[in-house]
């Protein structure tokens, strides 16, 4: 090994170590940002080292350099602009989009290698090559659909059409056959094309039947897939840093996916096989359909809130979608100034993704100490005067405590145990589970039908007027 090679290898090793340390520092909010910067430093080193390899090799023709520079510049600028401009509420779908890009790039590495391999490469290349194309293509189309579902381009509801399962199974069979053909180095270009098309289609049919509420878990899973695809690409081109970083992401992504699914009390298999609402349609109709709904005005709500001693705010998807995090913070600090004890009950999957609500509220300068996790806040609800539910639905539905409903067994916030409840919601529409929320028809619940941002501004104005 020449000195140059040794240096490159050592830089790759350092980069891999920085990735590991960086990820480890992400375990705590205190060190997380430093962790990300370390990881970015490792990435920069690895990329610079790779460019050095290209220069040192000297065999790169001018057109190829143009392709490298132009492609990287276009991608970098697009990524930078998107990441800078994106609203906090839209971050999950952007991550999914970046994930699609990574999966696509990994698959293209294998495709390129396949087209340019001079002679038969041997099983130690052809097997990872087939897997790279397979996983990368599934991730690419699957992540695009997941992103589209969160963005509203693709309907969030589970999409099931007649024969969908059969098509998915057929695609899986086609993928299995072509993967084996490529792995044993027969079938040639035709097999590669069929595999790519089948895998792209499979990514679509895999994610379409899954409801929008489960997208976080799906995106995390696809993220782990991309990591694995990148590791496979590393085998194909014989690059250790790709193998290390890819395997690292594959494994940690798998663990993270499991943690997310656990927080929703669901199994990954259950989610992937089509979740809420697709099962028993009779259960949907059998909710508390006959209950009376009581609606409240901004003034009623203001009186309740202003004269309460303990208020718990339950933010949900509706708050994230309406981007009302600043309005809720304004109302909360107004109440606090009156001596009302205010805290926030954060369900593990509130918002669009686990932890997403914390990010949104932190952006609006809500102090950390006021954010209470589910286990911490649930015993306190009987002492709570007013629970203010903002755009949260299924995570507050008491039906989850009974067996036989679509959300049975899902951990919920015990909002129904508070002395009174105000629910801000645009309509009586269903959550992702597609069932009625018994909380909304409970006698102590007042419904405030409005967009979260508008409702909170009106309530804040009413409280100000009331207390002068």
């Amino acid at each position: 090994m020449s000195t140059f090679d040794t240096v490159i290898r050592l830089v790759y090793l350092a980069a891999a170590a920085l990735f590991v340390v960086g990820l480890h520092l992400m375990n705590s909010p205190v060190t997380a940002r430093r962790g990300n910067l370390l990881s970015a430093a490792g990435m920069t080193a690895a990329i610079v080292a790779t460019l050095a390899v290209l220069v040192e090799g000297g065999a790169v023709n001018p057109t190829a350099w143009l392709v490298v520079i132009a492609g990287t510049a276009v991608g970098a600028v697009a990524g930078l602009v998107a990441a800078r401009r994106v609203r906090m509420t839209a971050m999950p779908e952007l991550v999914s989009l970046f994930n699609a890009a990574g999966g696509g790039a990994a698959a293209l590495v294998a495709v390129h290698d396949f087209l340019h391999a001079a002679e038969s490469p041997g099983a130690h290349v052809s097997i990872p090559l087939a897997l790279d194309v397979l996983i990368g293509a599934v991730t690419f189309s699957g992540s695009l659909i997941a992103s589209g579902k969160l963005h509203g381009v693709v309907p969030g509801q589970p999409i099931v059409f007649p024969g969908a399962r059969v098509i998915t199974l057929l695609l899986a069979a086609v993928m299995a056959v072509t993967t084996v053909l490529i792995a044993i180095d027969t079938g040639g270009l035709a097999a590669l094309i069929v595999l790519s098309v089948a895998a792209l289609a499979f990514g679509v049919t895999m994610v379409l039947p899954i409801g929008g509420a489960d997208m976080p878990v799906v995106i995390s899973l696809l993220n782990a897939f991309t990591g694995t695809a990148v590791a496979m690409a590393g085998f194909v081109i014989g690059n250790t840093v790709l193998i290390t970083a890819g395997a690292l992401v594959g494994a940690s992504g798998a663990i993270l996916t499991k943690l997310m699914a656990d927080a929703m009390n669901r199994s990954i298999g259950n989610i992937m096989l089509g979740g809420f609402g697709t099962g028993d349609s009779a259960a949907v109709a059998a909710g508390a359909g006959g209950g009376q709904v009581r609606s409240v005005s901004a003034d009623d709500a203001a009186i309740q809130l202003a004269y309460a001693s303990k208020v718990v705010i339950v933010p949900g998807y509706g708050l994230a979608a309406a981007q009302a995090q600043h309005q809720v913070q304004e109302l909360a600090s107004l109440l606090e100034a009156r001596g009302v004890e205010v805290s926030y009950a954060i369900h593990p999957v509130a918002g669009r993704m686990p932890g997403h609500m914390n990010v949104l509220l932190a952006e609006a300068n809500v102090p950390y100490s006021q954010l209470k996790e589910m286990e911490e806040i649930n015993p306190e609800f009987p002492q709570v005067d007013v629970a203010l539910v903002i755009g949260a639905n299924d995570v507050t539905n008491p039906a989850a405590r009974r067996p036989g409903t679509a959300i049975s067994g899902m951990p919920i916030l015990d909002v129904d145990k508070a002395k009174s409840v105000i629910v801000v919601k645009r309509s009586m529409g269903h959550g992702y589970a597609g069932i009625d929320n018994e909380l909304y028809t409970a006698p102590k619940t007042g419904m405030y039908f409005a967009d979260a941002k508008k409702a909170l501004s009106e309530m804040t104005a009413a409280v100000k007027l009331l207390v002068g």
């Binding site: 375990n27 990300n36 057109t63 697009a78 890009a101 990994a106 340019h116 081109i237 890819g246 690292l248």
Partner: protein, 112 residues
């Protein structure tokens, strides 16, 4: 089976095991940023796309390499920037750290 492949396989398996262990006890709060951070790390595929782009010599190769470089660069640059933006939110503004009851939490975060 070449010795290089066995070395690669060793690295792969050990990296998997490290990945399983490295984030075992992460709080729910950090799930989204962590996923985003992992997402940016697989942007390392940019190194791979650079290497294949360098070997491209015909139109199909150039097109594939160009698209791959665009994708990978987007993944890596966007990934790190968006993760940093998420994590930035967790840093309490100095004003709030100095203020009232958040002071104990805030200062602890700053000094640690």
């Amino acid at each position: 089976m070449s010795s290089e492949f066995v070395t690669d396989l060793t690295i792969f398996v050990l990296s998997l095991l490290v990945g399983f262990e490295v984030i075992s006890k992460v709080p729910t709060t950090l799930h989204t940023p962590l996923m985003s951070a992992a997402n940016s790390i697989h942007g390392i595929v940019l190194a791979g796309t650079l290497l294949i782009a360098a070997t491209a010599s015909d139109l199909v190769g150039y097109v594939i390499a160009f698209v791959a470089c665009v994708f990978a660069a987007m993944n890596v640059v966007g990934g790190y920037v968006v993760t940093d933006r998420m994590l930035e939110m967790f840093k309490p503004p100095a004003a709030r750290a100095a203020a009232v009851k958040g002071a104990s939490d805030g200062s602890a975060e700053v000094t640690r």
